[in-house]
Symmetry: C2
Subunit: 195 residues, 2 copies
DNA sequence: CGCGACGTTGATTTGCCTCAACGATTGTGG
DNA sequence: CCACAATCGTTGAGGCAAATCAACGTCGCG
């Protein structure tokens, strides 16, 4: 079995252990895909047609505003799930981009296969429920930070929460994620070196 | 059957229709509860022990920072679900408050009953998966707004998205939700009257 | 009636942005 | 393999968005 599938099955097993039949089904319906740096997993206007598990590498999800400025909504590194739920479920054109920041390998399942998987193996309803609940908690904490903390506090919490990400991702991208300019992030970092 | 349960069952049926056995089970495990204005459904330090469906009324979920200031994370009116997922699943003390802003009626299920419901009736894994996915989409859009739009734009989008909420909730509370001061919200509103 | 929550206004301050400029690094095509 | 472009991080001057602080009128409610 391709080693990629091992990391996916490990991810599922963290919540409710799969039977060997279910593991087999996972290998059947998920397919491997590779992305080059700057390759697009999703572009504005496309309809998001698959649920994606990142095996290795790193992606950013962002929207582009009317001034052409990018705003990073989330990052996804290995062992993470990423997709545009709104586009996926409503089957409408996405307003978002998902772009590889490193050469990356993913496993994808398409819409119809996922619906059939839910019906054939109820455990996946449960596993995907828990996956999205975990992501929901992260979003809720992030919302609380953005409405209550200064940019400086938010940057420190980001570094504390994702120390490995901070080393892999350019500060420009982190600034976009925090909702501040790269210049201002640079000033925050300088200020903290002196202390 | 208590009319409260009708609105809950309608909510479930919107996604995947319940059988009469499942409807019966819902009536068995969910219990009605009433809250006065300013009554607490959850307080900091409590462990969140139930998943709550709002039948009527309105709640705010908020955190209190080190300066004693409240920050509204979300509102929940009738036909909405509310809970602190982090506290509920990790069974740890919550950092949040959930407080009734109007006299309110809810239906609640406690932790163990929910776990049993998931196991006995797989459809609830699916329904609750979809419920949380919808809430996830809302959070994602909100994050995008907070990192990309000005306070004025965010206020207008809030009013457009929730015109009925804007009439029921004091501006002080909306300001807290938007992450701005009541004074500044007042100035935004004044400016738009003139135009 | 009197108190507390609410909404408003103005003066001042501050956090963060814009714009411009500059080296250092990375990447890429010839 | 080099040359050149693009990306990245940094710095400073100036400006704007939003916070702070203080004051005041209104309203609903106990």
């Amino acid at each position: 079995m391709d080693i990629s599938y091992t990391s996916l099955i490990d991810n599922f097993n963290r919540y409710f252990k799969l039977t060997s039949a279910e593991e087999q089904e996972v290998c059947n319906v998920f397919y491997v895909r590779h992305y080059k740096r700057r390759g697009f997993l999703l572009q504005e206007g496309d309809t998001c047609k698959h649920y994606t598990f990142v095996v290795s590498g790193c992606f950013k999800m962002y929207a582009v505003d009317q001034n052409g400025k990018e705003h990073n909504i989330q990052f996804a590194v290995e062992d993470n799930w990423i997709m545009d739920f709104q586009s996926f479920y409503e089957e409408t054109p996405s307003k978002l981009y998902i772009e590889a920041m490193e050469p990356s390998t993913v496993l994808q399942i398409n819409h119809n296969d996922l619906l059939q998987l839910y019906t054939a193996h109820h455990k996946f309803d449960r596993n995907f429920r828990i996956i999205i609940e975990q992501k929901y908690i992260q979003f809720q904490n992030r919302i609380l930070e953005t409405i209550s903390a200064t940019a400086e506090e938010r940057y420190h919490r980001f570094v504390d929460a994702y120390p490995n990400l901070q080393q892999r991702i350019p500060n420009t991208q982190i600034a976009s994620y925090l909702g501040i300019t790269p210049e201002f992030l640079s000033k925050i970092r300088k200020k903290n070196l002196r202390q």
